[in-house]
Amino acid sequence: MKSFKRTLLGALALTLLIPAAGFAQSSATATGDALANIIQPITIVNDAALNFGDIVADAVGGSVVVDTAGAATSGTLTLLGGESAAAFTVTGAAGRTFDVSSDLNTTITEAGGATMTVDTFSFSCDPCTIGDPLTVGGTLTVGANQTAGAYSGTFDVTVSYQ
């Protein structure tokens, strides 16, 4: 009878103790990290036009190159000055690099409808880093006996993060 009671007590103790241990592990919580990197958008603003300056027309025609430093050169045509490279301000996330691209060519026109073509755009940097000055040069093709006048047109320059 004594051993019966002892066994019964032991069994009771067992049933009382084990559920407490079991329930303690019936759920678990973990911490996860959530992350995101926000990058300031890239913007480009035109500050100065690509200007080939004053050029004296002749019977042969030729080409005028303005480099990214703003210097004009021509193999055959007489240049009278006033040239400049296009200049742009690019803003974005400090230290990020970006690629530069542009239209392949553009047509510039004077009041009477005569045209010339500008192509072979060149960039002061590509890829560039935010904060770099961006200047753009190009090549103007002048026809034989090109009509005198003030020619203008537009071209697009696109910047994109690398």
């Binding site: 559920p19 759920s27 990290d33 995101a36 958008p41």
Partner: protein
């Protein structure tokens, strides 16, 4: 004879007690089930280019990223949160998953909200022993404000798993 009968009676009583205890022991073993949750990968929305309007970035539990109003930048660098769920012991290995309603990511003085948490498996999972391991993947939606300041934003979120009875 008396001694023998006493002995027989004692064994009978002992067997009775053992029989009483068996269901309790079986129940105890079922309740010895345990569940464990271990994080193995961050929930990362990757690099995002802000915009004047702001927008949302969704990373799904299977690791896809979609954006609206802002631009996802780079073809990688984003991934769902990944956890390992481990269930031990006998009995029901199904568990309930509790995800947060929303958490805040901060960078310097700026913040963004992450909400609409989703998971695979969704709602309940099942990590059947003996292996008893299931991968739990967590996605969510990031709310990017108008002209959200640039920076590396970080926050923490809690995931809880409950063993079902």
């Amino acid at each position: 004879m008396n001694a023998r009968r006493d002995s027989g009676a004692r064994w009978a009583k002992f067997a009775f007690v053992v029989a009483l205890c068996l269901p309790a022991i079986a129940a105890a073993q079922e309740q010895q089930r345990s569940i464990d949750l271990t994080p193995s990968s961050d929930l990362h929305f990757g690099s995002i280019i802000a915009s004047p309007t702001g927008g949302t970035v969704v990373v799904t539990p299977d690791g896809m990223r979609t954006t609206a109003g802002v631009f996802g930048f780079g073809g990688f660098g984003y991934n769902p949160g990944v956890f390992e769920v481990t269930v031990k012991g006998r009995g029901n290995a199904h568990y309930q998953i509790v995800l947060p309603a929303s958490v805040t990511l901060t960078s310097g003085g700026s913040s963004m909200t992450v909400d609409t948490f989703q998971s695979t498996p969704a709602g309940t999972g099942h990590a059947q022993p003996p292996a008893g391991i299931e991968t739990l993947r967590v996605g969510a939606t990031l709310r990017v404000g108008p002209n959200q300041p640039g920076g590396n934003y970080a926050g923490t979120y809690f995931v809880t798993v409950h063993l079902l009875n």
